[in-house]
């Protein structure tokens, strides 16, 4: 299903602006954290992994929070959260392409064991972080 970014269903700001306003700090935060993490860890892929885990945890938290907002009168605040935070900020904070690029680089650099560990840590770590976030939001609700 395609969405029309210029149809404004009401709310505080046009949806495309909300997505963009979330995306910029999300991408900046990923860039800065990966840069800082790469120098500390000396391995860029674990820095990317950490940022993805953070985004998964926050995504679970947000999804749990949104379950409380599923009442009609709070529709617009739910949309704002979804557009600016889930799609814009967390969507841009996390990355799939860098993970894939790092897996390919490790594999081609004869570090297959490392690549498999990174893939498993991303998958299971991401699921665990998201579930923890979700449970945290539900237990507070």
């Amino acid at each position: 299903m395609l969405k029309d970014p210029w149809v404004w269903a009401g709310g505080s700001l046009p949806p495309a602006v909300l997505v963009a306003l979330g995306a910029i700090p999300g991408a900046w935060m990923r860039y800065v954290l990966v840069r800082l993490g790469s120098t500390r860890l000396r391995q860029r892929h674990w820095a990317t992994w950490g940022v993805n885990m953070l985004a998964c945890g926050l995504m679970g938290l947000l999804a749990g929070l949104q379950e409380h907002l599923r009442q009609p009168r709070q529709q617009s605040s739910q949309d704002t959260l979804e557009l600016a935070l889930a799609i814009g900020f967390l969507g841009s904070l996390s990355t799939y392409s860098s993970l894939m690029a790092e897996l390919v680089s490790l594999w081609q650099g004869q570090r297959q064991g490392h690549a498999l560990r990174l893939a498993a840590a991303s998958l299971f770590g991401g699921l665990a972080a998201c579930l923890v976030g979700l449970q945290l939001a539900r237990s507070r609700g």
Partner: protein, 126 residues
């Protein structure tokens, strides 16, 4: 001409933002995580980011555009939904299918990029 200098921090953030906005908007308009992620992987391969790209291209295309076009958090949230509903087949097929398609996308892009490089070298030699 290839730009090999690392941009200053403020410029680096500008390049990242310039890539991130269209990347996130495209992901939202597509409204399909698999397509957005695969497309982002293809872009990374096809723009030569697996080889030795200029710092500016890495920031604009890799960190900004493809980084924001693709998403790991939404992808994992979809897995969690399958997990909580006990949809094991959907869960497993999403992991295997999306993982494989992403890898194919990035490798296909990289192959195209390298072939284009070879082709232009051959043309330059003539």
């Amino acid at each position: 001409m290839k730009d090999v200098k690392t941009p200053r921090p403020a410029m680096a953030l500008l390049w990242v933002a310039l890539g991130a906005v269209p990347g996130a908007l495209l992901r939202w308009v597509l409204a399909n995580t698999l397509i957005a992620n695969t497309l982002g992987c293809f872009v990374v391969g096809a723009s030569g980011l697996l080889d030795s790209p200029s710092p500016r291209r890495t920031l604009l295309v890799g960190v900004g555009f493809a980084g924001s076009l693709t998403t790991f958090s939404t992808w994992v949230l979809q897995l969690v939904v399958h997990l909580q509903k006990g949809q094991w087949e959907a869960l497993l097929s999403q992991i295997l299918q999306d993982g494989a398609v992403g890898l194919v996308g990035i490798l296909l892009g990289a192959t195209l990029h390298r072939q284009r490089g070879r082709l232009s070298q051959r043309l330059l030699k003539r």
